[in-house]
Symmetry: C2
Subunit: 326 residues, 2 copies
């Protein structure tokens, strides 16, 4: 049997070579390709394996435009933290679309964080008001810092307002805001709605944390935490008021934030626009300064593959990474 060469790009190299702008460009491009029908995600596998309370699975797809084929495998191991490991574990395999051979193995933990941050920042770039000044953060876990850093680059924000169900975690965001030279205020969720021009929700909630009445006209809301049936971050009524965009409509209505508004008949699948259509110039996006826009970021495999492909390319160009004979 023939032996093939596989590029190995570890977590440390991913952190070294993939910056926020690389992730932004890769995610924006693949959202565009998805909306054109040039890239598609395969069905998601997600299994409770009945061991270590773990959820294991994979997301996968093929981007014909970018010639990227592969999968992200891994899952959620709730006991990892005690072992000094990240609870979410991800590994990306990239295959040569011409031959099916494994071309690169890429650590997926850091990349998952930056691609999720890139997703909300792409939505802000394309949907938020140009004059947005106050960024509202709902959630203060590990991922929230990534979202904040990426969002801060998209508009000339001068302040961050934040709320978290566990207020003792807010210093994490306060520190990032200080580093970015942004004012920071811990607020109630109602107050957050009153002040914020852009809101990012990044929690693991199973009930609405932000009510529709609290959101002012013109706000852009990026719901980034809902990726499973039953999860929920905002009032379904907000989706009826807003112009709703998403990464992938099929996921949005089934496992994304829109699942609840659709289930209650407040909106239908046809009311949801793939953000790629806005990126491609096929949909106007925001057309009115008072319009509320909402992005349902469900997280698709093609995002993972897009940033992993960038990591592999940059590592190769810079002579980094290992090689394995397979």
């Amino acid at each position: 049997m023939q032996t093939g060469d596989v590029l190995i790009v570890g977590e440390d190299i991913c952190e070294q070579v993939v910056g926020r702008s690389d992730a932004f460009d890769a995610v924006e491009a693949v959202f565009g390709a998805m909306a054109r029908g040039d890239a598609y995600n395969f069905p998601v596998i997600r299994e409770a394996i009945g061991h270590a309370d773990a959820l294991y699975g994979f997301k996968s797809g093929f981007d014909r435009a970018g010639q990227v084929l592969g999968l992200k495998s891994g899952g959620y191991w709730p006991g990892n933290m005690e072992k000094g490991l990240t609870n979410h574990q991800s590994t990306v395999c990239l295959f040569d679309p011409d031959t099916g051979r494994l071309s690169a193995l890429v650590g997926g933990n850091y990349l998952t964080a930056v691609r999720t941050a890139a997703s909300s920042s792409v939505s802000i770039a394309h949907l938020a008001r140009r004059d947005a000044k106050v960024l509202g953060m709902v959630g203060a876990g590990h991922q929230s810092a990534f979202q904040l850093r990426a969002a801060a680059e998209q508009r000339a924000f001068d302040k961050v307002v934040a709320w978290n169900p566990h207020p003792e975690m807010l210093p994490r965001l306060a520190a990032v805001a200080e580093e970015l030279e942004l004012a920071f205020e811990a607020v109630s969720p109602e107050e957050l709605g009153t002040q914020a021009d852009v809101i990012i929700t990044i929690t693991s909630a199973f009930e609405p944390l932000v009510m529709a009445d609290w959101i002012k006209p013109g706000t852009h809301v990026a719901c980034m935490g809902t990726d499973t049936k039953g999860k929920q971050e905002v009032d379904p009524a907000l989706l009826a008021q807003a112009s709703v965009f998403t990464d992938e409509v099929a996921q949005s209505v089934s496992i994304g934030e829109a699942q609840h508004a659709v289930a209650r008949g407040l909106i239908s699948q046809d009311d949801i626009t793939p953000i790629g259509a806005v990126i491609n110039g096929d949909h106007a996006g925001r057309t009115n300064p008072d319009q509320i826009t909402l992005f349902d970021g469900t997280g698709v495999g093609l995002q993972d593959l897009a940033v992993a492909s960038v990591a592999a390319r940059l590592a190769q160009e810079q002579g980094l990474g290992g090689h394995a004979a397979l």
Copy 2:
């Protein structure tokens, strides 16, 4: 982010360390675990990607008994042969079930061949008559040699009879038979049925090649080529006459050889026994020397994971394989 150590087991090392008896033991054990409910396969992903005429996907699962978690990824690239590569390309990823971290990356091409051969040989060991003397081979492609070598170890055969839609490929099997010191005869499929005590079908056929009337009492038939909707190797009437066994009932009735007999109402799902039940001693298997037994080998992800896990363990014990920091 933490960096983890991944064991790399290439194709050459797999060939070096995994013998037929290792594959037999691993496949037999996991079939047993499946029948006990200690191991299960996750849904199969299989996609025509719309590039290079390729079929891409993965099979995956978790063996709680053996603590083996992972996936085999890859597919079928029909243009590979011209490039000097195998058309079927497979790579196995094994994960630590306690943490979700990638523990080993294992080349899957050789292992796919040996696990498929192990599957039919496990069926022969448990279902064929002890006094079987003549082995019938239907199909003479690359995989057929693996099936023949593995089958020959299960009974004291003295002769191989073979038929292939393309007779010019039969010298491959004749050479293997000679090496194994078995007589060899190229025959018609009717004659094959008359002579053979054990038959292995290993083709890519979409129509029956072996008719029920040609099979004599007491024969064991292992149908190994049907793994997709529409494929077919034997007369559906043969399944109604035979005691039918399989690796996984759900695959047998949907994409395996039994799909046709079930669709015609000749047998039902309840007529099919997981071979693991025989392995575990929960089903008698063959109870009569005149009984025809038929094994529908559809190929499950857990087989791949089982042999890959053996490859990783043996490579580690023997200080072989590479290491990658991920």
